[in-house]
Amino acid sequence: MTTPETTDKIPVTVLTGYLGAGKTTLLNRILSEPHGKKFAVIVNEFGEIGIDNDLVVNADEEVFEMNNGCICCTVRGDLVRIIEGLMRRKGKFDAIIVETTGLADPAPVAQTFFMDENVGAKTKLDAVVTVADAKWLKDRLKDAPEAKNQIAFADVILINKTDLVSPEELREIEARIRAINPYATLHRTERSQIAIGEVLGRNAFDLDRILDIEPKFLEAQKEHDHDHDHHGHDHHHHGEGHGLKHYHDEDMQSLSLASDRPLNPDKFFPWVQDLVAKEGPNILRCKGILSFKDDPERFVFQGVHMILDGDHQRPWKEGEARTSRIVFIGRNLPEEAIRKGFESCVA
C-alpha cells in the first residue's frame, strides 16, 4: 500500500455513458477546444472523431480475468497493450482519454491502473466521467445494469440533453443519480457543452485529494459561490438542497460510516480486507479517511472492487476533528454487518 510519486505520470480520463448519451459529442468538444493540449485518444470505433493533432487508437474492449482467484479482478487487456505502445510516443501528448462503449463496465478500466505495474508506473487514472441522458437515464436505470454501474462508478457526471426535459424531470433524474452516487460532481449540460477543466485534471483517484468525502449535496450551498467564470453558459454547478425528493435505489446504494473515536489498525485492516474479499464483487468504489490510535497522521485509502490502495497522507492539524469516515458505493450492501464491523474496529 504505497503511493509512488505521481508527478510525471500521464493522466488518463475515462469517458463512459450509455448508448446515445453524448459521449462522442463530449469527446469531440474536448479535442476541438483551443486548449493547446495534445491527447492520445483510445476509442472503440474509428471514424467518429478525427482531429489531426491527436493520436487516435482503436481498441477492442478485452476484459481479462486475473489468475488470482478473484472473480472481480479484471483488467482491460487492450489497455495494457495500448498504453505500453503509446508510451513509445511519450512527450507527444499531455493526457490520455479512454472512451468506452455504451455497454462497458468502468471497473476493469480503473482496475487496470492498479493491477498492471507497467501501466501504473507510467500513467495515472484521473477520473471516471459519465455522460447521462436526462431524458432516458431513468428508464436505463431500470433496464440496463451497465447504465447504473456507470453512474455509481463516476467521479463526474454530466446530465446531458437538459433542454429535452422539464425542470421537474431534471430534478427527479438528479435525485435518482444522488440515490446511487451522492459523491460525484454533477453538471447539467446541453449537447455536452462543458468547460474542459470540469472533466479533465480532476485527480479523483489521487490519494492526496481524498480530502473531502462528504456527500456533495451537503455542500451544495458552497458551490454557488464560485466557478462562475467559465465560458459556456448552459451548464451549472448546482446544489439540490432545495426541495430534493429522496429516492432509494433498490439495488445500488452508498453507505457512509463515521467514528469520532480512533480506530485500531490491527482490527481495521483485517476487517476491511476481509470485507472486500467477500463483498468485492458488490462494492464498486470505496474511500476513507482514517484516524488510528496513537498515530499523528491521517491515513487515506480508496478501492475499486477488491483492490485497495492506501497510505499515510499528512499529519492531523492542530484542532482538526479526528473523525474517521469511510464510504462505500455498491450493490446490495449488507449495511448492518458493515456498520457493526466498522464499529468493532474502534481502538
Binding site: G77, G85, R88, R89
Partner: protein
C-alpha cells in the same frame, strides 16, 4: 555510481558509449554491428560510423532480427524490413493504419506479424496466410524447425502450421498470455503472463508447467546455448529454469544468480558460452557465468532501466540500451 559489489571485475571502461537520444526498445545485429531499435521512428546503426535510418512514421511497437534482416512493426500500420545496407523496405501495410503489434522471424525468410486478433505469416516467395485467434495476439514465435508459428493470446497459445489444412493445435491455460517462446529443441512452449509467472506446456503431451515466484511481470526471456536453461527477468535476481532432461523444469528449482536490490529488467544469454548478460531496473548491466555465478560488471547504476540487450551471433559483441536513451557497446 558504484559497482554492485566492490570486488566485481569491471569492464565498464571498455564500453563504447552510444547516444541513442531516445528510448531503446530493442537491439539486433548485422554481423558485429549492433542496431538499436528506438521507441520512435528510427533504427540506429552503431558500427564504427553511426547511422540513423527512419523506418516508421511513429512509434516502433515490435522488432525482430535474425542477422540478415531486421523487421519492425509500427503504430503507423506498417511492417518494414531493413537490411544490413540500411535500406528499409515496406513488407506490408494496414489500410486502416492499425497497429502492427507483434513481429517474429522464422526459417527460410519467413516473417510473421499481427494486427489485432489476426496473425499473418509469409514465407519467402510464398503466399500470405492469416489466422484469426479469439483475442488480440500478444506474442508470436516460430518453432525452431519446420514452418510452425506459436501465437499467444488470452487463455492460451494457438500453435499453427500455416501450410497445413489441419486446424491449429490449442494449448489452453486460463489467463492473459503476453509473450511466447519455443525451446530450441522444439519440445516446450513457454508463455509470460499478465500475472508475475510463466506458464509452459510440453508440446508432445500438453503437460502443464507453472513457473512462479516472481515479484513482477516477466518481460524478458532468453534461452541459453543449446536450450539448457531459460533465463528470465522479473525478479531481484537472475532466474534460470532448467530445461534439460525429459521433464524440463517440472518438479525442479530454478537457479538464482546475481541478486540485487533492483529488479532484473532484461536478459540475453551468450550464444556460445554458459553466460548471461543481465540488465537491471537501476541501469546496471552484468555478465553472469551460469556455472558458478561469477560476475563481471559492464555498466554501473544510474537509476535508468536497461531496456535492451543483445549479443552478436559470435558472442564477441554485447550491446545494451536504456529507457533514458543511453546505450553502449562492449567488444570482448
Amino acid at each position: 555510481m558504484t559497482d554492485p559489489t566492490p570486488s566485481t571485475v569491471s569492464l565498464a571502461d571498455r564500453v563504447r558509449h552510444v547516444a541513442a537520444a531516445a528510448a531503446v526498445v530493442g537491439v539486433h545485429f548485422f554481423k558485429r554491428v549492433p542496431v538499436f531499435v528506438l521507441g520512435e521512428e528510427a533504427l540506429l546503426f552503431a558500427g564504427d560510423e553511426e547511422k540513423r535510418v527512419v523506418v516508421h512514421g511513429g512509434g516502433i511497437l515490435a522488432s525482430a532480427g535474425d542477422g540478415e534482416r531486421i523487421v519492425t512493426g509500427g503504430d503507423d500500420g506498417r511492417l518494414v524490413q531493413t537490411l544490413a545496407d540500411g535500406a528499409p523496405k515496406q513488407l506490408a501495410a494496414d489500410e486502416n493504419r492499425r497497429w502492427i503489434d507483434q513481429v517474429a522471424l522464422g526459417p527460410h525468410g519467413a516473417v510473421a506479424w499481427s494486427i489485432g486478433k489476426t496473425a499473418h505469416v509469409r514465407a519467402r516467395n510464398a503466399e500470405l496466410r492469416a489466422l484469426d485467434v479469439p483475442s488480440t495476439v500478444a506474442g508470436l514465435c516460430f518453432a525452431p524447425k519446420g514452418f510452425r508459428l506459436a501465437i499467444a493470446h488470452y487463455n492460451g497459445v494457438t500453435f499453427w502450421f500455416p501450410n497445413a489444412a489441419a486446424p491449429p493445435e490449442k494449448f489452453e491455460w486460463k489467463g492473459s498470455h503476453l509473450s511466447v517462446a519455443v525451446s530450441p529443441d522444439g519440445r516446450f512452449l513457454v508463455t509470460t503472463m499478465q500475472e508475475p509467472m510463466l506458464h509452459g506446456w510440453r508440446i508432445a503431451d500438453g503437460k502443464h508447467m507453472r513457473m512462479s515466484g516472481y515479484s513482477a511481470r516477466v518481460r524478458s526471456l532468453s534461452w541459453s546455448m543449446e536450450g539448457e536453461f531459460l533465463a528470465t527477468s522479473g525478479s531481484e535476481q537472475l532466474i534460470l529454469w532448467p530445461f534439460d532432461g525429459k521433464e524440463g523444469p517440472m518438479g525442479r528449482q530454478p537457479k538464482l544468480l546475481a541478486p540485487s536490490e533492483a529488479r532484473v529488467s532484461v536478459v540475453a544469454c551468450h550464444p556460445k558460452q554458459a553466460a548471461v548478460a543481465v540488465g537491471y531496473a537501476d541501469g546496471v548491466v552484468l555478465l553472469v557465468r551460469i556455472d558458478d555465478g561469477a560476475l563481471i560488471s559492464v555498466r554501473a547504476a544510474d537509476g535508468q532501466p536497461v531496456t535492451a540487450l543483445g549479443w552478436d551471433a559470435g558472442g564477441q559483441v554485447l550491446a545494451f540500451g536504456c529507457e533514458s536513451g543511453a546505450a553502449g557497446v562492449l567488444v570482448l
